[in-house]
């Protein structure tokens, strides 16, 4: 259709919104409630433009044939400012960190008046993983939409009307009191930081000062592909070496790699799969690396408990090994060891409070918290030299690296299972069908006389979808966050699918560069089994590396 945009005659696709048309034509319009992956509810009213002289929200409005659109008039700028002013008493812009989207918008729209006083007086909700401060909330509705549409958890929604409208877990409970899975996707999508993680940073800093304790840090696979973003490095930069250097400069005594825990997980899970197939036990076997998925299962699908692998998540496995295998090897009392996990995930904070697990890992920091720690220490991260993990528990394979991206656990497991069962070498190490950026992926592989049908889902809605057909498969990987851990609730904020693709690509690159790409080839894994655990699935392995689940109420 023909339109006139800022005086220029254009031929445009009438099915696009005015916002998209403007973007195509290099015109920037401030948006707050809008998010590419969500339905434009047009709540914030910042993206105003004039359509034939009338103010409309560009994110939700499509052009009409022959219309005149202008994007920058006094009237528009004034109206945007007024809406910013109306919502800002909550945000307190001056205190808003640079991480948040609203900061940029605030700078774009500007605010030269502050005629209204803060009026909200909500109690801040301090949870086990997330903190919700409704006083900062600007009712953009993104968290609500993400939770209900992308994650299909429906833990939070708006309640009340008019100026009392506020976000709340259902029945005005706390997140811990509802079926929230602690995925933190609401946090990631909140433009003003009204939802944040429960910080363990203070406790970690105190621990670092304690000379009597040996503070050991372990970093999850997906951190290395995202941490650089916090220091203005290109999205998708791999910063493994710099990260290790920075951690050492922060004062951690030992730096281990959760990738190794991932390799251990694969050994155990693969053995479990083979055992279940051989002795006709419950199938499909479902992975358990993602604590948000575990919570979802316990709350909404407890009938799946027999299907769940009993393996602990990789960092919990490594935590257990640190406090047993490593402690013994280094001759330290495990009580003098503090284990800190750097995780892409807020659900891991909840996981570390589970009574059956809490001894393994003491504190969990998100990628963002680590970024804060590094900034606090004035470390010039982008220019750090590389260094290596501590070798005792720091050698890992490419299979561990790809744990951080959706489909990676499955791929790693298949690599090992195939070679262990068939005693043959894989012709192609990579399972390209699992590298695609898709919500649900599937495939099959032949192991001797049995075909294993496998599938992976990432994002809550896709998990629910896949579960409808679960009986078509033998082995299923579930990740609660879109894209897997690279899109976790603890990762640097601001991301769209492009960011996720780049982070994922970085992990696949790291894998492809490694000499060792299969978990069973990892020399440390071999040593741990030889010296300590016996073999995968042994009694001792069960004691240290496996766990159990229970049904939970949604109320």
């Amino acid at each position: 259709m023909k339109i006139k945009l800022n005086g220029k005659h254009l031929e445009v696709n009438g099915n696009k919104t005015i916002l998209d048309i403007c973007k195509d034509n290099g015109i920037k319009i401030p948006t707050l409630c809008y998010h590419k992956n969500l339905f434009p509810e047009a709540r914030c009213r910042l993206c105003l433009v004039e359509l034939n002289g009338k103010l409309v929200t560009s994110c939700s409005t499509k052009p009409i044939e022959g219309c005149k659109i202008v994007t920058k008039t006094k009237k528009i700028l004034k109206a945007r400012k007024m809406n910013m002013e109306l919502m800002s008493p909550g945000i307190s812009m001056d205190k808003l960190g640079n991480d948040f989207e609203a900061r940029k918008i605030y700078e774009e729209v500007g605010l030269d008046n502050e005629r209204f006083k803060p009026r909200k007086n909500y109690k801040v909700e301090l949870g086990d993983s997330l903190v919700r401060d409704n006083n900062k909330c600007v009712n953009c509705g993104r968290c609500v939409q993400v939770c209900s549409k992308v994650q299909e958890v429906h833990a939070i929604d708006f309640a009340s009307r008019a100026h009392n409208e506020h976000v709340t877990p259902y029945c005005e409970k706390t997140l811990a009191g509802v079926a929230c899975i602690r995925c933190g996707q609401c946090l990631i999508n909140c433009p003003v930081g009204a939802i944040t993680e429960v910080s363990h940073l203070g406790k970690v800093e105190t621990a670092l000062k304690n000379k009597k304790k040996q503070v050991i840090v372990q970093t999850a696979p997906s951190i290395r592909a995202a941490l650089g973003e916090l220091f203005d490095m290109k999205t998708g930069s791999l910063v493994t070496g710099k990260m290790v250097t920075a951690l050492r400069q922060c004062g951690f005594d030992k730096i281990f790699d959760v990738d190794l825990g991932a390799d251990m997980t694969i050994m155990e899970e693969s053995a479990e799969l083979v055992r279940r197939i051989k002795s006709n036990e419950t199938l499909p076997l479902i992975t358990t690396c993602c604590p948000a998925w575990i919570l979802m299962m316990e709350q909404s699908f407890p009938e799946l408990i027999p299907n769940m692998s009993t393996c602990k998540s990789p960092h919990e496995m490594l935590g257990a090994l640190i406090k047993s295998y490593y402690a013994k090897k280094a001759g330290i009392d495990s009580k003098d060891i503090i284990v800190v996990s750097i995780m892409p995930c807020v659900a891991k904070k909840f996981e570390s409070t589970r009574p059956e697990l809490y001894t393994d890992v003491d504190y969990v920091l998100t990628t963002r918290e680590l970024g804060r720690l590094i900034k606090k220490r004035n470390i010039d991260f982008a220019n750090l030299p590389d260094s290596e993990f501590d070798p005792t528990l720091g050698i890992s394979t490419g299979a561990g690296d790809i744990f951080g991206t959706a489909g990676g656990v499955m791929e790693a497991a298949l690599r090992t299972t195939y070679e262990v069962v068939t005693k043959k070498k894989l012709k192609k190490v990579e399972f390209k069908n699992l590298h695609e950026f898709k919500g649900i992926k599937e495939g099959s592989i032949k192991l001797r006389n049995k075909t294993i049908r496998y599938a992976c889902a990432n994002g809550g809605a896709n998990i629910r979808e896949l579960l409808k057909h679960k009986d078509d498969y033998d082995f299923i990987e579930m990740m609660a966050c879109p894209g897997g851990c690279i899109g976790g609730g603890g990762q640097p904020i601001y991301f769209d699918d492009e960011t996720l693709k780049l982070r994922s690509k970085a992990l696949y690159k790291q894998d492809s560069k490694k000499e060792l790409r299969k978990s069973h080839e990892n020399p440390i894994v071999k040593e741990i089994y030889k010296k300590c655990l016996g073999e995968p699935g042994s009694k001792k392995a069960k004691k240290f590396l496996h766990t159990k689940y229970k049904k939970r109420s949604c109320f």
Binding site: P40, E41, A42, R43, C44, R45, L46, L48, L55, T57, S60, T61, K62, A79, M82, N83, L86, M87, R115, F116, R119, V138, N139, G141, D157, F158, S160, R161, A162, H163, N164, E165
Partner: protein, 373 residues
């Protein structure tokens, strides 16, 4: 009253005889337009829904009358509901709607049992295979808004959605849905059946400081003096307010009441609810009480209306307390205008009218409170 004439299913019989097209043509000829406020021709609305190819269409009768000073739907449901149900059946016939809903204001629950009986009775007589369900509103004024009703009937939070898509194209469960209000649907069989049916009659809800408040029927353009003569004001009148969002203005005997009078050119609410305000009242008080209404009835979805309405109340309170300056007056006007221009739905778009017209027409009342430096 024309709107109380009964039709005894003769309107429906005629519609079936004329067929869908014939019925639409006759409605067009008789000049029936929506009584909710937008005055959109009824046949056109139905035609729009018919233009969508689908296996299902819905009809919603909007009986969520929540505007202060408006009570004509209640009057009609009490006094001529058989004709209303017949109107619904005619619409269902034309639209091929198998499920119809009456979205009944929560506070009108006392009318529900009686209405249910009448629905059963008329349905039985008509022998049509249509269901008419009464859905009780949850008490939100904003659910008088078309898209909010739809959300509410689907069991979602009653908040308006951006239009387009219009409900006639994509409404309940994504299917074309026609929303007509009680008066419009009651008029349908009457307009079809009676050749002398006058399209210009409107129902007026009269309240405030008058001897005879109630529902009246007058022709558009009726003289103020006629209205005053009938309802008998108690003493001298200072102002009349057209509901909450039509605006407030002085009472001139020679005025003729028409949409143009109520809200200038961009009139979107011809609900014809007149609230009379006596001369002892201060308009700032009147505006404040209306502004309070909106601070509780805004749905809270969009920034200007959610955040703005509460600030309007703050400002009006400040003015009343004598602490305000001209700057505050300016802000009040700016804000009222801003909410109107940038809100998502009709509620926000009209919630400043009473203040803007109050400030314009009753300057003295406002100035009287302003602090002199």
């Amino acid at each position: 009253m024309q709107v109380l004439r009964e039709t005894n299913l003769q309107g429906l019989a005629l519609a079936k005889k004329l067929g869908k097209k014939g019925t639409l043509e006759l409605l067009a000829k008789r000049g029936l337009v929506g009584r909710g406020g937008a005055s959109f021709p009824t046949h056109k609305k139905w035609e729009r829904a018919l233009s969508v190819k689908t296996n299902e269409r819905f009809l919603i009768c909007n009986a969520d009358e929540g505007e202060p000073g408006t009570f004509k739907d209640k009057f009609l449901i009490k006094n001529n509901s058989e004709t209303l149900i017949e109107g619904i059946l005619i619409a269902a016939f034309v639209l091929d709607a198998k499920r119809c809903f009456i979205y009944l204001r929560a506070e009108y629950d006392s009318l529900r049992l009686e209405l249910e009986k009448i629905i059963k009775k008329v349905l039985k007589k008509s022998k049509m295979k249509v269901s008419i369900e009464i859905v009780r509103g949850a008490g939100a004024y904003v659910c008088g808004e078309e898209t909010a009703i739809i959300q509410s009937i689907m069991g979602r939070r009653g908040q308006p959605m951006e239009k387009p898509p219009y409900p006639t194209i994509k409404g309940l469960w994504g299917k074309p849905t026609v929303l007509n209000n009680v008066t419009t649907l009651t008029c349908v069989p009457q307009a079809l059946l009676y050749e002398d049916w006058n399209p210009n009659y409107r129902l007026f809800s009269i309240s405030g400081e008058v001897e005879h408040p109630g529902v009246y029927e007058w022709e558009l353009g009726v003289k103020m003096s006629t209205i005053l003569g009938t309802v008998k004001p108690k003493g001298k009148m200072k102002a009349m307010s057209f509901g909450c969002f039509g605006g407030i203005m002085p009472v001139y005997k020679s005025n003729r009441v028409s949409p143009a009078l109520i809200c200038d050119k961009n009139c979107h609410h011809g609900a014809y609810s007149l609230i009379f305000v006596g001369e002892k009242k201060n308009i700032v008080d009147v505006n404040l009480s209306m502004a309070k209404f909106y601070t509780y009835e805004s749905c809270g979805k969009c920034t200007p209306c959610r955040e703005g309405t509460i600030r309007l109340v703050e400002l009006l309170k400040k003015i009343k307390s004598g602490q305000a300056t001209n700057k505050d007056l300016k802000l009040l006007k700016e804000l009222a205008n801003h909410i109107q221009e940038t809100s998502l739905c009709g509620l926000g778009a009209s919630c400043g009218n009473h203040i803007l017209t109050g400030m314009k027409n009753f300057k003295k009342d406002y100035k009287g409170f302003i602090k002199k430096k």
